[in-house]
């Protein structure tokens, strides 16, 4: 579909934007804009009419003032690794990319704070402070590419959020350029807030509050040690019960990841990581903390998973063995690509104790639609990522894959869960919002959004369903790694 309705941007406006930023900050040729036609959600594509790459908050402000005067909508973009079409331009002809605002401005080790521009890549923050024994805790799988600004928009998580929390738990202060071009300082480097928690409102607002240009983040101390183990189960049901057993025992690992048989076999076929291909499921469990007591916890976890039916528990003996386990987990999606021409990943959440139920439900949905569905996900958080395999050349199979995805989300909601644990609503799940929120809830959320963006020009047609914003999904959801 065309992203921008019928109207093309006024050439005078484009000239003014060029004058404000310089030619090198403006991309307007259709061939070059094609790169920006989607993020990690590839179902829908729409290139912006113009892409702007400002270098400073002042430039962002200048641009937004011009767009405000002209009543033109815009969409912010970081690295474009989002998974819900959050930076897809729908009714927003101007895309503003933060990638050139990529400086780490200040590190204060004594206060455990780092101040960064929003285009800084997530992993670069941790890399910059690693030598002093610190890291930035939120670690989405795309962390080598995704930006802090994008993480703030999506309130990103990652495998280690089970213990360390998600983006919102680590952001203290923001500089944001509001849709009218005004620059606002929200929060500070201090833990307490002065007035309403506007930082908390902006984190996870999916770019609908304006363009974040700078952030003050908390740094976390590297743990003294880690213990990473692989628990092998004959039956996936036992694996999910083991997750509950660990949590119920009062042990909070920093990660518990589950891979089922379909995924294990795909990973083995592709990478020979040494996973047992006859297993029904494996858990990768990682504990971290002070050295004292860590082995006790690891032993206790070993006992718990064996008690839940694990037939084997392997402990990684060194960093190399640990790296192999994580590589297997992180490459799972690439491996799945070998199993079918197409695959579609869902993101849903259930209360942890409902994991056995949701996996059984997914199994039943797969059977009913005659599809193969694999599971690799953040089990400790109850955050599932079923992967539906299909062939898009087969229209009926494609239709069934779409239906299966929606039924899985409905099952999550029926079990007291949510539509998305970490990928966001974006354009992708906007039609599903009424499954968990009442019209009144959505009205209040719209009102909150208008506090920042009264004209609805910041990333329009996202998060909250409005007439015309709902995309009729006719092909399944994305097929990119999470």
């Amino acid at each position: 579909m065309s992203s921008n309705g019928n109207s093309r941007l006024d050439p005078h406006l484009i000239a003014e934007l060029r004058a404000a930023l310089g030619d090198d900050a403006v991309v307007a040729r259709a061939a070059e804009l094609k790169v920006y036609e989607c993020d990690g959600w590839t179902i829908e594509k729409a290139a912006p009419e113009i892409l702007l790459r400002p270098r400073t908050a002042a430039e962002v402000s200048a641009v937004l003032k011009i767009l405000h005067r002209e009543g033109v909508a815009f969409v912010p973009r970081g690295a474009g690794t989002g998974l819900s079409g959050g930076c897809l331009p729908i009714g927003a002809p101007v895309m503003i990319c933060t990638s050139r605002m990529n400086r780490i401005l200040a590190v204060d080790y004594a206060s455990r704070r780092v101040e960064v521009e929003s285009g800084v890549v997530n992993l670069h923050v941790s890399n910059a402070v690693a030598a002093r024994g610190f890291f930035y805790a939120p670690d989405p799988s795309s962390q080598a590419a995704c930006t802090i600004g994008g993480n703030i928009a999506e309130n990103s998580g990652g495998p280690h959020t089970l213990k360390y929390g998600v983006t919102t738990n680590h952001v203290l202060g923001l500089e944001i350029v509001l849709p009218d071009g005004k620059i606002a300082e929200l929060g500070s480097a201090a833990e307490e807030r002065c007035g309403y928690d506007l930082v908390g409102a902006v984190v996870g607002a999916e770019g609908t509050a304006g363009i974040v240009t700078r952030a003050t983040l908390k740094l976390t101390r590297e743990p003294e040690a880690r213990r990473t183990m692989l628990a092998v189960f004959s039956d996936v049901d036992d694996a999910t019960r083991a997750v509950s057993a660990i949590i119920a025992a009062g042990i909070i690992p920093c990660a518990i990841e589950l891979m089922d048989q379909l995924i294990i076999r795909a990973v083995e076929a592709a990478f020979h990581a040494g996973l047992p291909t006859d297993a029904g499921a494996v858990l990768i469990i990682e504990l971290d903390g002070a050295i004292a007591g860590l082995d006790d916890h690891a032993q206790r976890v070993g006992e718990l998973v064996r008690g839940a039916g694990a037939r084997e528990v392997r402990l990684a003996h060194d960093d190399a063995e640990r790296a192999i386990l994580w590589k297997a987990r992180k490459r799972a999606f690439g491996a799945v690509g070998r199993l079918a021409p197409n695959y579609a990943t869902q993101d849903g959440v259930v209360p942890r104790t409902r994991l056995p139920d949701i996996l059984r439900a997914i199994g039943a949905i797969a059977l009913r639609h005659n599809l193969r569905i694999g599971n690799v996900f953040h089990a400790g958080d109850g955050n599932i990522h079923p992967i539906v395999l299909y062939d898009e050349r087969d229209a009926d199979q494609t239709r069934r894959a779409v239906a299966a995805g929606r039924e899985i989300l409905q099952a999550c909601v029926a079990m007291g869960g949510s539509l998305t644990g970490e990928h966001g609503i974006g354009a992708e799940k906007i039609a599903e919002m009424p499954l968990i929120f009442s019209p009144e809830d959505l009205t209040v959320m719209s009102e909150l959004r208008r506090v920042f963006d009264p004209d609805g020009r910041a990333n329009p047609n996202k998060v909250i369903p409005t007439p015309g914003s709902c995309v009729e999904v006719s092909t399944p959801r994305r097929q990119v790694p999470i």
Binding site: A190, E191, E192, P351, L448
Partner: protein, 421 residues
Amino acid sequence: MNDHDAPQLVRTFAALIGESRIRAPQGRETRAASIIAEPHDAREVAEIIRKCEADAITLAPIGAGRTLAAMRPAPVAVGVSLAHMAAIIAYEPDDMTVIAEPGLTLAALNRQTAQHGQHLPADPPHPELATLGALVGAAHAGPMRHAEGTVRDLLIGVRFAGHGGRLVHGGGRVVKNVAGYDLMKVMTGSFGTLGVITETTFKVRPMAEQYAIAFAAYGDVASASAAAAQLHHAAALAHLEVASPAASHALGLRGGFTVIAGLAGSAAEVAELSARTRAMLAAGAEIMTGAEAIAARERLRDCDFADAAIVALIAVPPAELARCLEPAEVEFVAHAGCGVARISLSSGANPAEACAALARIRMAVHAAGGNLRVLHAASEMRPGLEFFDQPPRAAFALMQTLKRTFDPHGVFNPRCFVGGL
């Protein structure tokens, strides 16, 4: 209607939700509200709100009345007590989540969760008085913020009655959830100015198997703070405080500037932490264990300087905290790793001196990039005293819009939050 015409207010609200639901304020409540309404469910809260908006009557949620009595220059007309909305709706120990009504006290909640070895790790002073509504509304916190964060990190779902009596919910009951706007953050620390919270959902955490607490005295703020910083760097602690001499004395300690460290975990962890802490702290460091340690932690938690002329909460980047605590007239319990301190100023001979001292500290805190909030002020200190800092201009403009949007009739705890919101 005149906000203070109590008999008329009683008649109005008795007609609305029944006579038995309306009572006169008692004790400190008298400074918070003219009458107290005690709705039994969210629907009744909504009815009260609709009536207040229709007749321009002010209202505010009230728990034990501590926060509201302290911050209100004059009482609101209707204090909405949630004492009858104090049930645990759902507690799932294996999911480590709990849904509870806002009138429940933190202590009552934690008595239930303790049966499963879990707790809501928020520890403001006197949890037997702190309702969950107040915990969220006033964003109260205590020593455990060091390791567990604050209520903002623990609240995963919220329901509230907003303007027009709308019943609204945000979040859910799963620990990881990014669907929709984060209404939990908007309500946390909003001091009843945006609506009345009717239900809260929290993550709970496992309680540590063992707990010990270490104390070591130092001669001045700077050396105590340096020792605390060193310890913070060397060990994952449950909490970390520096207490001023009078605060130390109130805690039953010898005096001096005391570093207080909470050591929690398995037996092996606590043993190792104790050894490490003892090696790092000043000679004469003392470590308590068992029931004695827990009692000490509770004294630390409850040290709220209730009799002081002015009590305030300051927050700065942690490395800046010691400098802000240097003025001799300040007594404090500082959460050193968080850069947050509860400070008190005694009036001494002259209230004006205490106010002047507060102004100096406020300036120092602002210069350090932080903020200050007055928690309590004796009545002679009140005139002209700003409880909240003024936010930066653009941020404040957003807050004004937020307030107007959520409270178009201006009835929710008006004119006493930041900038007179």
